[in-house]
Each structure stands twice: as C-alpha cells, then as structure tokens.
Symmetry: C2
Subunit: 483 residues, 2 copies
C-alpha cells in the first residue's frame, strides 16, 4: 500500500512542476518517498546480510545443518504417533508429551541430549511417585484437608528445589531435572485432585516421555553424532596451537619479521581467553556421554579444564606481551640485535613445547620429544638470561679513542630506552615458566589419569603421526563452529 501511494505521489510530482500552488507539499512528498525507499532498501539489505551471515555459519560447519535436519526428522517421527491411527490408539491423546519431549530435549551434542533426557526421565519418575504417595496420604486424611496438604507440599517442594538450583554442582548437573521435578509434581498433584485417574496419567506421561527421549537419544547418537567429549578433546589442543602461533608471531613482530599473516595469527590468544565458558559446558556434557571413539565412559574430562586454565594463564602473559609491541621502536637497534637471537630462540622453543603438549593431548600418546623440547626451552631461558647479564657491558660504551677512562668519558646508554625490551624478555621468561609449571603439569596429569599410550619405537612414532594427521583432518572438518 505504502509503496503504491508513494509511486502515485512521485508521478504527481513529475507533472506537479506546472502546478505551482503546492510546491512545498510536493517537496515534502518526494522527501517522504525518498526516505521510505531508503528505509525499505536498508531493511532488505539488513535482512539479506543477516541471511548471508547465517548461511556462512552453516557452510563453515555443515554439522549445524545436519543437526537441524535431525531435529526435523525426529519431530516427523514422533508426529507419526498422531498421524498413524494404529499407533495413536496405542498411546492415546498424551502423545503430545512425546512431541514436547523431542522439542525440548534435543540438543546439539550427544552429551547435552543425554543430560536432558536422563534428567527428564529421572525427575519425572521421582516427582510422579512422590506426588502419588502424598496424594494417597492426603486422600486418607479426609476430603477437606486434601487441597491444603497438596498445596503445602507443592509450596515446600517447589521452594526447596528452586533453592537447590542455586548450589553450583546442582546447577551444573541437575538444573533441568529440578525444573522437570517441580513441573511434574505440580501437574500430577494438581490434576490428581481433578482428574481422578491419576496413576493412569502418570504412567502415560512417563511412557510417552520415554518414547520421546529414546527417539532423541537414538537420532543424536546414530545420525552424524556430535560428541561433546570429542569437541572438547579437539578444542583444547587447537587452543594450545593458537597460543603457540601467537607467541611466535609476537616475537616475529617485535624484531620486525612480521607480515600480514602473522598480525592475524597474533590475536589467537583471544580465543583462549574467551573459551572458558564453552570448555566448561562441554566438559559438563561430556560426563554424560557413554564410551565413544578413544574415550572411555569415565574419561577424565575435568583434566581438560585444568589444561584450559593453564592455557589461559599463559594467554594472560602473552596478552601483556603484545602490549610491549607498541614500544618496540623506542629500543636502540644495537640492543635489539644483542637480544634478538636469544628472544627468538626462547619464543620458538616455548611454542615448540606448547605444540608438543598439544600433540600429546590430541594423539593421546606420550611424546618422546617433549623432554628434548623442554630442555631446549630451559637452555633458551639460560641463554636469554646470559644475554641480559652481558647487556650491562653494552650499556657502558667506552669512547674508543682513549685508553684510560675518565668518569665523564663513559657514555651510559639511557636505561629507560632498554626497559621495554628488558620487560619483553622477562615476560617471555615468565611465559616459559608458566608453560613448564602449569601446562606441562596439567598435561601430565591428564596423561596419567587417561593412561596415554607410551611411544615404544620409531614404528609406533610413525603410526602416531598418522593418527595425528587423521585428527587434524577431523579438526579441519569441524573447525569453525567452536571458535
């Protein structure tokens, strides 16, 4: 309508030039039309950009598309209970609960789905039985007390359960179960007062929920499963690799070897800083998952969180390190040259250790090279410390042409100019010590509790290399969705 009116007006404007009676009005009309056109164009562009972004999101990680199709398929399957008469007669009108279960319970990862399914079933079961029991007691106390007993019990149980959701461990593992517990208890006890065929209702609700959850579990586990455990197992070493790259790029950039590519990689530590929440939720979901791939049921997922925390502690250091880059030009070239090789050495050997640890985690095989790498890193630290020690000599430059020093002849290079480089170097040393103390320890703990394989000989080594390549292929396939 608006559009059409606009067109009419603009035509009027076209031949309105002869009609000098209302020039202001026509002006206003064109302005309004222009503004309207602008609005529509902007709106369409925005919607288009939004859709394009959404599409890119799916193209980057096709498993997201698969997940959506899986939800659709599961819903169609559960609708069959309604559409096909024989099934319908079997389960009755409460097939609605099965539909509801599928919609509410189906999550992206297997662990998430299992968490919700198990919580839903257990909470429904528990609340149903409790409601039946209290209903039975209440019905034996006389009809006039019944609503009071039921009301008070709802009040107490709902309040207590709501409170339990504030407790961190309950919140993490049974939050959904708490909601379902209150829900089922209220529904069963409230309808119990009315409906009278309470047991039948509880049974029906439970059976339809079981149908729904089974469908969800099967669909999520069989068709292109996304295991939260595997995601976590890939995310943690990927983050470590990013950290290593950041560290390398930081040193490169400081000594002027950086390029566009390295400037981009430099920001990798940000991913590490921001991945705490996703790591925690994945570890939480992974605990619900059965054995899959190379992981047992009781795989120590908590240890991955420790490695994540140690990565973050290194990332804090690297974040501070990057702020040194701003002052890199203040440092005299001679001093820079003096420390360059030691700094580059330390950063590359540190990132080597991180990479080696990442490989250990991703291949689940103890590394033969790690001790060598750590030794290299320690040597590099010593080398840098020595270079820092000899820096004092460099700071005091004798005037060449004289044999004997007079106090005034000593040119002392201003220490202030050297400080940025000194603090850069000492941050590098601090990063190395955090890698050794936190990250190595965390990986060692994981290797211990997950019983990582021992590398036996060269043949085994090659095998592991191949396995690692497979992992990185897997990784590439699902690369961007976790970023």
């Amino acid at each position: 309508m608006c559009n059409k009116n606009g067109v009419e007006w603009s035509i009027r404007v076209g031949d309105g030039s002869s009609m000098a009676l209302e020039p202001e009005h026509t002006h206003e009309v064109t302005r309004l039309w222009d503004r309207l056109k602008g609005l529509v164009v902007r709106f369409v562009t925005r919607v288009w950009m939004f859709l394009k972004k959404a599409w890119d999101l799916g193209v980057d990680d096709p498993r997201k598309f698969f997940h959506c199709l899986k939800v659709g398929v599961a819903l169609i399957f559960v609708s069959l209970f309604y559409y096909m008469r024989p099934l319908y007669d079997g389960v009755g009108g409460s097939a609605i609960w099965a539909v509801m279960t599928v919609v509410v319970v189906f999550e992206y990862t297997v662990g998430g789905t299992l968490y919700k399914c198990l919580n839903r079933i257990c909470a429904t079961f528990l609340a149903g039985f409790l409601a039946l029991g209290i209903h039975w007691i209440a019905s034996h106390t006389g009809h006039q007390f019944e609503p009071y007993i039921m009301g008070i019990s709802i009040f107490i149980l709902a309040s207590a359960t709501t409170f339990s959701r504030f407790i961190p461990i309950v919140k993490a593992r049974y939050d959904y179960g708490c909601t379902i517990f209150i829900l089922t208890y209220s529904l069963v006890s409230v309808s119990g007062y009315r409906v009278d065929h309470l047991l039948h209702m509880a049974h029906e609700r439970l059976s339809t929920i079981i149908i729904g959850t089974c469908l969800c579990i099967i669909t999520s586990m069989v068709v292109f499963p996304v295991w939260a455990g595997l995601e976590l197992h890939l995310l943690v070493p990927r983050n470590m690799d990013k950290l290593a790259k950041s560290l390398d790029c930081c040193a490169d950039d400081y000594f002027g070897h950086g390029n566009e590519e390295s400037k981009k990689n430099l920001q990798g530590y940000n991913c590490v800083l921001n991945s705490k929440a996703s790591e925690e939720s994945m570890a939480n979901f992974a605990q619900w998952e059965p054995a899959h791939g190379r992981f047992n049921f009781r795989h120590p997922w908590k240890n991955y969180l420790k490695i994540g925390a140690s990565s973050r502690s290194c990332a804090y250091c690297i974040e501070t390190l990057t702020s040194c880059l701003a002052s890199k030009n203040q440092v005299p070239e001679s001093i820079k040259n003096h420390l360059e090789s030691a700094c580059m050495n330390l950063s590359s050997s540190s990132s080597n250790v991180i990479r080696e640890l990442a490989t250990t985690v991703s291949t689940m095989t103890r590394s033969v090279k790690i001790h060598m790498a750590v030794k290299d890193m320690k040597n590099a630290v010593k080398e840098l410390q020595n270079d820092l020690k000899s820096l004092s000599d460099l700071l005091i430059q004798p005037n060449d042409h004289e044999e004997k020093y007079e106090p005034n002849d000593i040119t002392i290079m201003p220490l202030l100019e050297v400080i940025p480089l000194v603090s850069f170097a000492s941050l590098l040393i601090e990063t190395a010590s955090r890698i050794e103390e936190n990250m190595m320890k965390a990986v060692e703990e994981l290797a211990e509790s997950a019983r990582f394989k021992q590398p036996e000989d060269e043949v085994n080594l090659k095998k592991n290399q191949r396995a690692k390549n497979n992992v990185s292929n897997e990784e590439n396939a699902i690369a961007l969705q976790l970023v």
Copy 2:
C-alpha cells in the same frame, strides 16, 4: 535391616571369643560392620556438609530464600485455578498450561522472567497463527494431502528455527522463543489433525499462558524484585574496586608492607577475570527490564560490558604483575629502596583512578576529582620513569676511596638482578596506561550515553557521597551471590 543385623553380629562376636570354631568368619563380620559404619558416617557427614553449604549460600544472600518463597507462592496461586471450582469452570482443564508456564518461566531476576515471558507469549502467538493458517490451507487441498502438508511444514519450520538458534544474536535474545515456537507449532498442527476444535485449543493455551506469565511478572516485579540491571550496575564498580585493591596489595607485598589481609585481597583480580559470563547474561536480561530506580528503559547496558572488558584487560596485567612477587627477593635492597616510593606512588594513584571511576559509575555522577587523580597518576608515571632513568647511575658504583676511575674499578651491579624490579615497574606503567586508555574511555562513553549528572558544587558533592554510601549498603546486602 543392615544396621540391626550388624548389631546382632557384633554381639555374637562379643561372646564368640569362647567359640573358637569360626574366628575368621566373625573377624570378617566385624570388618564388614566397621566398613558399613564408616560408609554411613561418611555419607551422613557429606550430606550434612552439603546442607550446611547450601544454608550458608542462602544466609549470605537472603534474596535467594525470598526467590524460592516467591516461586512457591506463585505456584500456589496458579493452583487455585484448579482447587477453586468457579475459577476452574472458567478456564477449563487447560489450566495445566498456566502451572507449566509458572514453573518454566519464573527466573531469579526480573529481566530473566520478562525475557522468558515475552518470548513465550510472542512465540506461542506466532506459531499458533501460523499453524492455524497452514492447517486451513491444508484442509482445503483435500483430506489425503493434509498430513503430508502438515508434516513437511513441521519439518521445514523446525529445521529453520533450530538453525536460527546457532546465530549469536538470536541465541542471546530469542533462544527460548525458538523452542516455544517449534513446540507450539508442532502441538497445534499435530493435534489439529485429531482434535478438530483447534481454534478453541489455541485460544485456551494462549489465555492460560497469559495468566501464568502475568502472575510471574507481577510476583517477580513487586515482591522483593531482583533487577538484573541493578545487579550489573553494582557488579561492575565492585569489580573495579577489587581490582584497585589487588593493585595496592601487589605493590605493598612487593615492598614488604603486606600482611595477611592484603594477601587475601591480592586475589581480587580473579573475580574480574571470571565475571565475563555473568556480566553478559545480566546485560542481556537487563535489556528486557522496564525503567526502574535510576535507570531508564533504554539505559546503555552494553557500555557496562565495555567497562567490564577494560577491567579484564587491566586484570591481565595485574595477574602478570603478581607473578613478579615470586622473584621480589632477588632484587638488591638498595635498588628496591631507590624505586620504592615511585612504585608505591604509581600503584596508589592508579588504584585511586580506578576507585574514582568506580564511584563515577556507581553514583552515576561525573567526578570532579577524576582529572586530578589522572594527573597524579601521570605524574607518578613520569616520576617512576625518571627514577628508572637514574637507575643507570646507581648501577655503576664507583669505589669510594679513589678519585680517578680505572676501568676495573667500576663495580657494575649485575643487570640481571635488577630485571625483576624493572619489569615490575614497567608492568605498573602498562597497567596505568591501560587504565587511562581503556577504562577511562569506557566509563566516559557510559557517562555520555547514560547522561551522568554533572557535579555542580560542594553541596552536590556531599549529596553524591551520601548516595554512594547508600549504594554500598545495597551492595553489602547482596554481596556474595554474584561472586
């Protein structure tokens, strides 16, 4: 049963000493009994500890207790639709939806409740209409096509909506709405094929949901409301204060002025590092809240996130700073004394700026003292830089007893021993520059967009001080729940 058996056995053991026939068996029994007793005791202790912790959680923040009572009261109210006949006859059997709504929708903060309520109502409305429309179209194409059309439409809509949940902005604001949309559409269209009084059902569901949501909104907004916006408004300056305290304690500890109290406060920056997720969820919920207290409907909550991010960037620096504390004893006392006053000055003036900014945020009044504080901080930076400059002289100590220097007479203090202090100082300078560049800017932006009051004269100043005191009282009351 077990317990009783155990007691019997232990008595048998008592007089079993004369019965030498089965000593091994009785030994086993006592061992079993002991183990059982141990198990029970451990279980009881664990449950007791758990309950005690839970109770402390509530005592620390009584609003958690109130929230639980509120949920209970709301549930009792909604149950009245069932228990009281006249109401029941009005709304019909689907009052179950009202109960369900209350259980699912009631959140701790007003913003959370509103987010869920509005999402639920809008999504139900939209999905209901869409389902009715498609059902109408399908019913006009002939009976045999109807299930196929409905099935395909469910599949497409469910997949598309599930996909939209991967888009970050949809996930943050409409995640719950998406679930309810799929749920309602499936329920209405699936039951539509069976029940035939579709319009009636959609209307009933909508009206009961509105009853439930209204009850939730009123309860959460009127009885001891917990505003997500206010929580965020208190959390951000509280975190800044913690940061300031950490910085102070860090410098105190380095120069040996620390005590037990300061060691505890030193860890305050950890709260800042870990509060990203809670800040984001609060800002998200706050956007749904109406005007309350000193906040308009369109209060710029996003700016609080920026201040939070700038606090974290300072916290990274302070985290690195604390790792310098380990090496504080390596530095010679003379050098430490040389830099002590400048370092202490810079840390205290930096923390002063942070505190002043925190006061600006919490009182929503531009500070008159902030420019002075920043000037102090800049002067302290210059002072420290000068002291670092003159450090070079200190490093070269002439041997007192000689008038003329020979090259070998110059004692050069090893630079390596000074490096920890130098990097400590340069990290302090970096922290100061981050405070000035990030935090000041973020607070300035908030002051701009939230139109903070201008301090006019001394009278106003005093008023603000009083307002600030009130805020900190509020803060104390709800202190621990956000940590």
